[in-house]
Amino acid sequence: MNPVNYLYLSALLFTIGAAGVLLRRNAIVVFMCVELMLNACNLAFVTFGRMHDNLDGQIIAFFTMVVAACEVVVGLSIIIAIFRSRRSASVDDASLMKW
């Protein structure tokens, strides 16, 4: 199969993720959409690695996975802390500061 199709898929996944971040209200779902964007990046890296016939893309994908794992640890701890104090994980509720 033509590898370019994977690039289209990757761009589609990235767009779905970005739209989710902007549209969804639950902090956990927003965060999952960010993870989807990172995975779209991974797909693009691996596909480009295949197209250029070098291994850099696949190696970079591993780095991205590690970074995404670290982000989960930090992100979930922040979301849990704010859920415990507000009993809500909605990003609209956290609005004490404006402008």
Binding site: M37, C41, A44, L55, V67, S85
Partner: protein
């Protein structure tokens, strides 16, 4: 080639050459990374009462040692001031990275002095929550506060963040740049949520910073993927070579350029990616705000300059007009919205947005003078910002820091020294002569004018005038209005905060009166290694 033969060919390579890494050249980064790990071990193995002194000592000694290593590496640079790349081309050890690393370490030392301050809270303790995991207002939190707990995990977190900051302007390939970006950001997200007072605001700041920061780093990473697809490498040099000959508008190159730029502009807080800045600056514990405002900007502008100057100099006719637009919008929006602010920390946040625009002006010059003036501005701005936030920590009432501007009325009559120091910092922000702000603004505007961005200079000067209005308004409020009856008091800090403020004042005055030695140093350090 079919898939199976490709796999066999890959497997057939049995001998892998181990990468050569010159550890000496990476020593500043490695020292701070070691300090951070030792900090974690101190948290694990030392009894609670002994941790504070141990953490503070290890962090300060480590940063001074790392600064010594930076000086040693800078003396070792060859006479033509060209640096070298190390770690298989992933890290550049050249003038700009060493200059900015030195700046970051000095800012780090002053920040740790602020973080370590324990004399401001009437009930004892520092600016950080006694137990960050306890919900605000819960019994658990009250117990922790009553027991007089203090946490020291902020020190290793700050050091980890500093590792990322040291690596960010030195990263010579985009993968390293992405990893450095995350190393500097992730601890900062946590640090933002650790304030002792106003914990809901603090947690909200952490949530906003985290979600938007993760969103922008996904853009950065997708941009890296596009540039990798375009050039077949993530090395800045190779992208530079590949993009130098780009005759037609290649979609991959342009998308990659734009998305990496989004990630970097978010980190410096440029409009239209600035919306997190005021909320995060207001909600975060003030010592952390000072550290973040000063050091993140230094690191992110260093990385941005390296990205545009090394990887995409051949594309300047494509990115320069966009960046000029971003700089103009940033200066105008920052200066105008700041006028309407009523909170000191938010005021300083919008002022930092306006300053991001001024610094972009220097970067856009696309010359050695542009690099050196930007670096000089970063030094000047970093210490003024840190000093200003340090003063904010001192003005307090019963509810903690009194950040509402109306509380600052008449402060100059009650505490002329503190108000005078704050006025000096505000004048430096405004760019009044004989302060470092003037030297910095003069340098970047001169570089931009010579680089052919005259329009930018005109907008910059006008915005400086608008900005001067609201800085002077605060000074007038402090010195020429009656103090409130139940107004805030200025708490006398320990020697640590005093030292940090004194450093800010010294740098502001010295760079204002005698800028030439530092300008010469920045000139010598202005060459990126290719």
């Amino acid at each position: 080639m079919s898939m199976s033969t490709a796999a066999t060919a890959t497997l057939a390579v049995t001998k892998v050459d181990a990468p050569t890494i010159e550890y000496g050249k990476l020593s500043p980064i490695l020292i701070i990374a070691g300090v951070a790990v030792v900090g974690v071990l101190i948290e694990a193995f030392l009894p609670r009462p002994a941790r504070y002194r141990a953490q503070l000592t290890v962090a300060l000694v480590g940063m001074i040692a790392a600064f010594g290593a930076v000086v040693w590496l800078a003396r070792d640079l060859p006479d033509d001031h060209r640096g070298s790349v190390t770690a298989m081309g992933a890290v550049a050890v050249d003038g700009p990275s060493l200059f900015l690393q030195g700046t970051l370490l000095l800012i780090g030392i002053a920040s740790v002095l602020l973080i370590g301050e324990r004399r401001l809270e009437p009930a004892g303790g520092d600016a950080f929550a006694p137990q960050a995991a306890a919900a605000p207002g819960s019994q658990q939190e009250k117990d922790a506060a009553a027991a007089g707990w203090t946490q020291t995990e902020v020190y290793p977190l700050t050091m980890f963040s500093l590792v990322g900051m040291l690596l960010f302007p030195a990263a010579n390939d985009l993968l390293m740049m992405f990893v450095a970006l995350e190393i500097l950001s992730l601890p900062l997200y946590l640090l933002c949520g650790l304030a002792r007072r106003h914990r809901l605001l603090s947690q909200e700041a952490a949530l906003k910073y985290f979600l938007l920061g993760a969103f922008s780093s996904a853009f950065f990473l997708f941009g890296v993927a596009m540039l990798y697809g375009y050039s077949g490498s993530v090395s800045l040099d190779k992208i530079g070579v590949a993009s130098a000959g780009a005759m037609d508008n290649d979609a991959l190159l342009l998308i990659g350029l734009a998305m990496v730029a989004v990630g970097l502009l978010f980190k410096v807080g440029a409009v239209p990616f600035h919306s997190w800045t005021p909320d995060v600056y207001q909600g975060a514990p003030t010592p952390i705000t000072g550290f973040m405002a000063a050091a993140t900007k230094v690191a992110a502008f260093g990385a941005m300059m390296r990205f545009f100057y090394v990887a995409l100099p051949g594309m300047r006719w494509d990115w320069r007009p966009v960046m000029i637009g971003v700089a103009i919008v940033t200066m105008v929006a920052g200066a105008i919205i700041a006028i309407t602010q009523t909170d000191v920390k938010r005021l300083l946040a919008y002022s930092s947005i306006a300053h991001a625009g001024f610094i972009l002006t220097g970067m856009i010059a696309m010359s050695d003078a542009g690099v050196s003036s930007t670096m000089f501005y970063l030094v000047a701005y970093g210490f003024v910002t840190l000093g200003a936030f340090a003063v904010v920590t001192l003005v307090r009432d019963a509810r903690g820091e009194a950040t509402h501007l109306s509380h600052w009325a008449g402060l100059g009559r009650r505490s002329p020294l503190v108000a005078g120091v704050f006025a000096l910092f505000l004048l430096a922000f405004a760019g009044i002569p004989l302060t470092s702000g003037f030297s910095g603004k003069f340098a970047v505007f001169q570089a931009a004018a010579r680089g052919g961005a005259g329009s930018l200079v005109v907008v910059g000067v006008l915005c400086s005038a608008v900005a001067a209005f609201f800085y002077v308004r605060v000074i007038v409020l402090m010195f020429f209005s009656e103090p409130k009856v139940d107004g805030p008091t200025v708490v006398v800090p320990s020697v640590m905060t005093t030292a940090a403020i004194a450093l800010g004042v010294a740098v502001t005055v010295v760079l204002g009166i005698l800028p030439q030695p530092v300008l010469d140093l920045a000139d010598k350090a202005a060459l990126f290694v290719h």
